[in-house]
Point group: C2
Chain length 202, copies 2
């Protein structure tokens, strides 16, 4: 592949900005830019408006730090959701995945990432203190630590569990095992070990 | 896959607009939206600005119909480029591919698509009349028909060639054969037939 020479001017700038998006290389960026200029240009304006509006209105909920356009998000305001059950996630995107599954009826706390000492992300960079204060404030019965099933995610969960060891709150972690719908052919040894350890009577 | 429920509000609108872009599905749209809100929000504003600016300033060159921010594009204004050699392409994107290859030193004419009777794209929907007038205006020695190597691209080339049959202008078509750098294992019979027909002495 030769180095792609990006055209100058307004089209070049548009291609450059598009190619900074995650998962979009220079070829896709060029295709999208030409598509937007070729077709209905109102689509490009609508996207520009949506970007501006999201940047200007979306902020963190003052309670759970999920994204919201209000002071407090709709989940924290919803009295039908169990306030005694807190699911701790890394990002608003993870929260959105739980909401799509639509099986969790408690509330959330968004950490804003996971502990990563090598990248200089310590407890003060995350919403860990606000979580501890929220739990110490009372009313929480169970904390589900739904950080990612990786070394750093496990480390973050362990750190939070240690901080709350002296409280009465039940602290749990998401189950690990083989993914539903998969074939055992594609399951690695760590998944099998987890699935054996966590086996349940039927 | 279950139906993805798009969140409402400013984030939902942003995801919706992003997922209308070519090659971007709902999952990528969600990932991009969260990336833009999570990181440096100036990136989102820069993209919004680039979209607006491109929509407002980019228009068709009055001579070749390539995209430009001026009345006449930089290629048509460049006196070092051979005005007697016209390369006819379907889109500004095709023109950009030729410019990247940097081997063509003539000028262009952008049709704005190809004849597609089934999609109601006839000669009047394309810049064919302006091409004929440009050629009849004199000064053109050769017309390279670089429409795509498909049924519709070939049909478009044939249509233009017929329209100009009574002129002195030499009309050529891009060579077809096996793509440089490929393996014969992956070449289909049409490519081999083209390559045999177009074989050249070495």
């Amino acid at each position: 592949m030769s180095l792609r020479e990006v055209p100058s001017g307004a089209i070049g700038l548009l291609i450059q900005e598009l190619s900074r998006l995650p998962g979009i290389g220079p070829k896709s960026a060029e295709r999208i830019a030409h598509h937007l200029l070729n077709g209905d240009r109102n689509q490009a304006l609508a996207l520009a408006g949506a970007l501006r509006s999201a940047v200007e209105t979306v902020r963190a909920c003052s309670i759970c730090h999920n994204w919201t356009e209000d002071e407090v998000c709709s989940i924290c305001r919803d009295s039908r959701r169990d306030a005694s059950l807190l699911c701790v996630v890394e990002t608003p995107k993870d929260l959105a995945s739980f909401e799509r599954a639509a099986t969790f009826r408690g509330r959330y706390h968004v950490l804003g990432g996971k502990l990563a000492p090598l990248d200089d992300v310590g407890p003060d960079e995350l919403e860990i203190n606000s979580l501890i204060n929220r739990v110490r404030g009372g009313g929480v019965r169970e904390l589900i630590l739904a950080t990612s099933p990786t070394l750093e995610g496990d480390g973050t969960a362990l750190f939070i569990a240690n901080m709350l060891a002296m409280t009465e709150v039940r602290i749990t972690r998401l189950a690990r095992g083989i993914p539903s719908g998969s074939s055992l052919d594609y399951v690695n040894s760590q998944m099998l070990t987890d699935a054996l350890e966590g086996r349940r009577s039927i």
